[in-house]
């Protein structure tokens, strides 16, 4: 009895929170046919927003992959002072509102601050340009790779790595031949989550991008712009595309990922 109740509650909750709203977006998107939808997502602004979104997301994913793997190894394989603080810091982006992150970046990298000025004098724009957008996106998606890797690293333990080292493998060889294959699916999963989260970031990006059309406008910003300009169909079309990319990457992952053991 409890079994069914639990299932019902879980499905009911998901239905109202997730399935129905997303479903309605899907339906509204194609209300006027595929042609209208296609025209709506291939306008010059939309194509540009695609590019910006993709660049920002890919750079953020690359940064967080390297950072995530190193920090996970640090957290699981090493003991040091301040480990708990580091652990806490990794989770901070989950707790802090992205808008706050955006404002904080403005305080540090704005043109009137010493840091912003230093870069500005060298012709590099941080704020209202790609660098700040990458930083904001990387920040909000920071925990995802780490939180996927840490439990897997804990589970595989150190025996295999130690065995490799006694067999003559250097630290890097051990990582590449033993550790990386063992964590590869968790890493892929973390990367996809990071990518999906990066595509969808709005709050922090809204603050630090300056929302300059055809320059720093991302897909989520475009959705917002169209919606506030009473172009609901246009907003739904982009929303659908965003959700579609995220869902497809998750589905591909779950089908490709082998059932382990």
């Amino acid at each position: 009895m409890t079994r069914y109740l639990l299932r019902f509650v879980a499905l009911f909750y998901l239905a109202f929170l997730l399935v129905i709203p997303v479903g309605v977006v899907f339906r509204r998107t194609f209300a006027n046919g595929f042609g209208v939808f296609w025209d709506s997502i291939t306008t010059p602004e939309a194509v540009h927003a695609f590019k910006v979104t993709l660049i920002v997301a890919l750079v953020a994913v690359a940064l967080n992959t390297v950072f995530g793997v190193s920090v996970s190894l640090l957290l699981v394989r090493r003991n040091f002072r301040g480990k708990r603080v580091l652990n806490l810091l990794i989770d901070l982006p989950l707790a802090i509102s992205p808008v706050v992150v955006g404002l904080a970046l403005i305080l540090v990298y704005g043109r009137l601050t010493p840091v912003g000025e230093w870069f500005g004098n060298r012709g590099i724009d941080i704020l209202y340009a790609i660098p700040a957008m990458v930083m904001a996106t990387a920040f909000v998606s920071l925990p995802l790779v780490v939180r996927e890797l840490v439990p897997v690293l804990e589970e595989i333990g150190t025996d295999q790595e130690q065995a490799a080292s006694t067999l003559g493998a250097s630290a890097f060889q051990t990582f590449r031949r033993i550790t990386l294959p063992a964590i590869r699916w968790a890493l892929v999963y973390g990367i996809i989550l990071t990518f999906a989260r990066s595509l969808g970031e709005f709050g922090a990006i809204a603050v630090v991008s300056g929302r300059i059309r055809n320059e720093t406008q991302t897909l989520t910003l475009l959705v917002h712009e169209r919606y506030t300009n009473f172009d609901q169909e246009g907003a739904y079309a982009i929303s659908f595309t965003l959700a579609f990319i995220a869902i497809v990457s998750m589905v591909v992952l779950t089908t490709v990922r082998p059932k382990e053991r």
Binding site: D159, Q160, Q162, A163, A164, S165, T166, L167, G168, A169, S170, Q173, R177, I178, P181, A182, R261
Partner: protein
């Protein structure tokens, strides 16, 4: 290749795992590090392999200092209790790992892997994954993998600890034979005294981070240095406050010089051996005797007999110097 361990100390926080341990392991020997869990024997093995860094002291292989060398440059073979199989590689690739790291030619790797798999009787399993092998097979694979790089010394950390009793016995006979074939200096850690006595040429008894005694299995059994070694290697019972092996107690029908009154509590017949449980001066004593002696004396629960330690009874601390036992530096 001899292993010289000099004044090794290793602490984990407040816990002293190894307390100024010195030891020399002779070339070509099969040596057991024997002792209770938490006594420091595994830590010592890991220090030899370079998997732990000692706080103090040095490790040398045939006179060549290795204390500062990382494990990958020590050229030791290490076998872990839980196999440490590379799960994502086939059995053959596991065995080939060390050779691939050393960038040996492909043909040579292939030939060597084949040889080793034959040596450990796994030639039919070359293309399996470790998860498809039994525990005993996995450990043999781990051994082949360790031997592939022609290590200077072979170190085994409770190699049979995770296996069931039957496989354990088979594998230790097999390890002994393998060692007689390849003669690589081998050190293995165990907490099972029977396993140590069965397999090793020499036993190093380690407890509380110190070496208690070093010697051949016979030597340790016959001439234990102290109560601890005596009770760890073989059965003991206490007669008038003295540790005695239960087969070193004489059962007598009447009083004789040095004998004591004993009340028989229970007689357990275990085939050839008979176990007599006694009460002497209010404390429990047990004696191993033969069925014949028990029958001759007509021993049964409730009757009174007389007991005394045999004249040649093994006593702790009465060590006779043996050629196998090198001087121990303790403390």
């Amino acid at each position: 290749m001899t292993i010289e361990i000099t004044n090794i100390t290793k602490r984990f926080g407040d816990f002293v795992a190894l307390d100024n341990v010195s030891l020399e392991i002779p070339d070509g020997d099969l040596t057991a590090l024997l002792g209770p869990s938490g006594g420091g024997k595994s830590t010592l093995l890991r220090v030899i392999a370079g998997l732990e860094t000692p706080d103090d002291g040095s490790v040398a292989f045939s006179g060549e200092d290795a204390t500062g060398l990382p494990p990958q440059r020590r050229n030791v073979g290490f076998v872990f209790q839980h196999y440490a199989a590379f799960k994502h590689m086939s059995v053959a690739r596991n065995v080939a790992f060390g050779l691939e790291i050393r960038k040996r030619p492909k043909a040579e790797i292939e030939r060597r892997v084949k040889e080793l798999l034959e040596l450990v009787h796994l030639e039919a399993f070359a293309h399996r994954r470790p998860s498809q092998l039994s525990g005993g097979q996995r450990q043999r694979m781990a051994l082949a993998r360790a031997l592939a790089v022609e290590p200077r010394v072979l170190l085994l950390d409770e190699p049979f600890g995770a296996l069931d009793a039957q496989v354990r016995k088979e594998l230790r006979v097999w390890l002994r034979r393998l060692h007689d074939e390849i003669h690589v200096t081998t050190v293995f850690v165990t907490h099972d005294q029977e396993e140590a006595m069965d397999v090793a040429d020499r036993i190093v008894v380690i407890a509380n981070g110190r070496v208690e005694q070093i010697g051949s299995p016979d030597d340790l059994y016959e001439h234990p240095a102290n109560d601890f070694v005596m009770s760890f290697l073989g059965p003991v019972t206490s007669l008038n406050g003295q540790l005695v092996r239960p087969h070193d107690i004489e059962l007598l029908a009447g009083p004789e010089p040095g004998s004591a009154h004993a009340t028989v509590v229970r007689v357990v017949r275990l085939g050839f051996e008979t176990r007599v449980e006694l009460l002497v001066d209010g404390s429990d004593v047990w004696v191993q005797t033969t069925k014949e002696t028990a029958d001759r004396l007509g021993i049964d629960a409730g009757c009174t007999i007389h007991v005394r330690p045999a004249a040649d009874a093994i006593r702790p601390g009465q060590r006779q110097p043996s050629p196998l036992a090198s001087p121990v530096a303790v403390g």
